[in-house]
Symmetry: C2
Subunit: 412 residues, 2 copies
């Protein structure tokens, strides 16, 4: 059986490397007589590359070669990835993808095409890099009703927040540091604004709840507004700030899903997930809390997830894997403002004592926080639980304070 790779960037070249390095054990596990990399599709030249002889520029070579049974898509982006993947599936080839943008936008459509042609479309590497999460979710936890899931799904923002917490450096300084050592891209928007984490929570939620969850429907907030003052208040509250992606069943066929920087209590397993590591906490009715932890990105961790999917395709040539993920005309995500939460609020006020009295009158029993060397006009507190809409409405009526930062308290 032959394999082709489309897109020879960091991840694609990692796949070629792992296939070569661990060839014997991979072949044994694949249950196939042979398993060879035949083509690598890329528009760029790679002179001197050990795989130079496999490089092609014409997608049709892959499409028309019946010996290629599994195609790896590591191109990224929606186009032409969507068209290439669709064509491969329709031609009876299984496809393995690490492309979270593609899966979050078109997962339902591609799974439908795969089903019609009795082939596999697998995408373990699209969430959590080297952490096995999609397969455990759909298989190992199959016996559970999963009622909520919290994840640290983006390594770049977790690295930035860890440095802010541990070294007391501000956001801009750490972002430049992350860019310098390759943990953040030149244009860091997709990471720091939460879009990357949003795509991943959509993939997880679609798998768990069986209907496509679109990124546009998920409230998404990044970490660019996080100030060192918030980091210190989080510490005095007894926790840390993490960019948390969550999904939760709120009623039959309705879920809450969002991505936002949140205060996480120190006793949570997610509080100790540092640097570029990712972790996903899954809460099931039978299994209780289960946490998966590992490297959420990187050449070899991601490649290892892709190769595991390739092996799975090889083992399931007669019988395809089944996901419950279907297209959905309706949006199953409810408005996050209607959900219950506590909020952390930092604000400025001319007369802080009066302001705190007004805060207590409005919110009830708030937990007032303190930090060393706080400006005289600063207050910070955590509200009791209420709907986010009610809490924000109350906050708007408090004219004596000016909110500087509002964060969720994560129940994980």
């Amino acid at each position: 059986m032959n394999v082709a790779i489309m897109g020879y960037g960091v991840v694609g070249s990692g796949v070629a490397e792992v296939l070569k390095k661990n060839h014997d054990s991979i072949l044994k596990k694949s249950l196939q007589p042979s398993l060879d990399l035949k083509y690598i599709l890329d528009i760029r030249d790679f002179p001197g590359d050990p795989n130079e002889s496999l490089m092609i520029r014409d997608f049709n070579k892959i499409l028309e070669d019946d010996s290629v049974r599994v195609v790896v898509e590591t191109m990224g982006g929606l186009h032409p990835a969507f068209d290439f993947v669709s064509a491969c599936l329709a031609a009876g080839k299984s496809v393995v993808s690490s492309n979270k943008e593609l899966v979050a936008a078109k997962g339902d459509v591609l799974l439908q095409i795969a089903e019609e042609h009795n082939v596999n479309f697998l995408f373990e590497a699209s969430v959590g890099g080297g952490i096995p999460i999609l397969r455990p979710l759909s298989q190992c936890l199959a016996a559970n009703e999963i009622y909520e899931l919290y994840g640290i799904l983006n390594g770049t923002t977790n690295f930035i927040l860890t440095k802010m917490i541990d070294d007391g450096l501000d956001f801009d300084t750490v972002l430049r540091m992350a860019q310098a050592n390759g943990y953040a891209e030149k244009d860091p928007t997709a990471d720091v604004e939460g879009y990357d984490a949003c795509r991943k929570i959509c993939i997880l939620a679609s798998l768990i709840y069986g209907k496509h969850v679109y990124p546009e429907a998920v409230y998404t907030e990044g970490i660019t507004g996080i100030d060192l003052a918030d980091v210190e208040y989080a510490k005095s509250w007894g926790g840390v700030i993490k960019l948390i992606a969550m999904a939760k069943e709120v009623s039959e066929n309705r879920i809450s899903a969002m991505v936002c920087p949140s205060l996480v209590p120190a006793c949570s397993q997610l509080a100790n997930v540092n640097d570029v590591f990712n972790a996903i906490l899954v809460r099931g009715d039978a299994t209780g809390d289960v946490v998966f932890y590992g490297r959420g990105a990187g050449k070899l961790p991601t490649a290892s997830a892709i190769v595991a999917d390739i092996i799975d395709c090889c083992q399931h040539t007669r019988q395809k894997k089944s996901f419950g993920w279907k297209s959905s005309a309706e949006n199953i995500v409810v408005d996050h403002l209607d959900q219950n939460t506590s909020l952390y609020i930092r604000a400025s006020a001319e007369h802080t004592a009066d302001a705190l009295s007004a805060v207590r009158a409005a919110f009830g029993d708030v937990q007032v926080l303190s930090r060393k060397d706080a400006p005289a006009d600063e207050i910070a507190f955590v509200t009791p639980v209420d709907t986010e809409r009610a809490l924000r409405t109350k906050l708007r009526t408090l004219h004596c304070i000016k909110p500087l930062s509002v964060l969720h308290i994560a129940d994980c």
Copy 2:
């Protein structure tokens, strides 16, 4: 398709409960037209039990009923479990087991019978309770060469150590507390002496390294000798004491494997695994460190792992799952004394200053530890890395000190 359960204890009744409670979603995932519990085998009576009508005492009813395609073995113990499971597999029925004693002793034989009859023998619940670990190990991490694995695999001992660390209570007091609230059995030997963790590391090592690893070959030490003094010294060293089960490839076809109380640095993901929770850290060449965390025991978590295996059997009626675990005439486990390690040593000495000079002369650059209110005749230190044999030989030559406690330093 029908299912039978053999053994209606805590776990077996949990399986019946989960199958009933989540019947619709389980049926959907099973890809079968029907999935019903037909028999429950037990020698006891359960008057008034909701499943009373399914109870049988004659194993042959299950064996001879062709509609029963999947049999769950939750009896525990080697006999008659081994004979019943062998007979079911030989009759072309898939078997799902949570019985770690059976799998650790006879996994190779049962997998061989399953292979000969083209059925599945699955045992996810035998390690880590509700944590998906065996399937990720054999599938998701299939692309990796796994070079080491460290686990907290026993909830009872982890509960006891957590209470000793957090509340400063001694071993005997916490053991009684654990027995009172059901976390420890009346006869706690299998847990506190490490035998339970030993069976689990044997199952994990057999799966990873492809050859049967027998419990008798694995050095196993329990936690009965752990003193509060050691807990305090571990804190001053910067870590905690955990009962660590480990397996590590040392050369082709040779592994090191053992179970012993060890000092774990606070920065390790395993250091924050508390109470009855379990966690397994897997170190692969491509994926780096991956950690799986969750409830290692309990009725519903374990039942959920079993039901996931039942679903897997239903999905793989035509094609059985493949494990690389084969019988092995030779013992692949090397002598742990030949492996490199650091040791923590607590000892008494008449003249502590002289004793520390002698310790330094023997071991070289040791790290001396201190604790509040230590007796005047007590010393504690961590040795440099050497083979355990060399370190223990040096210790025996030091006649000026009397060792009270010797623990490994875990590299996890």
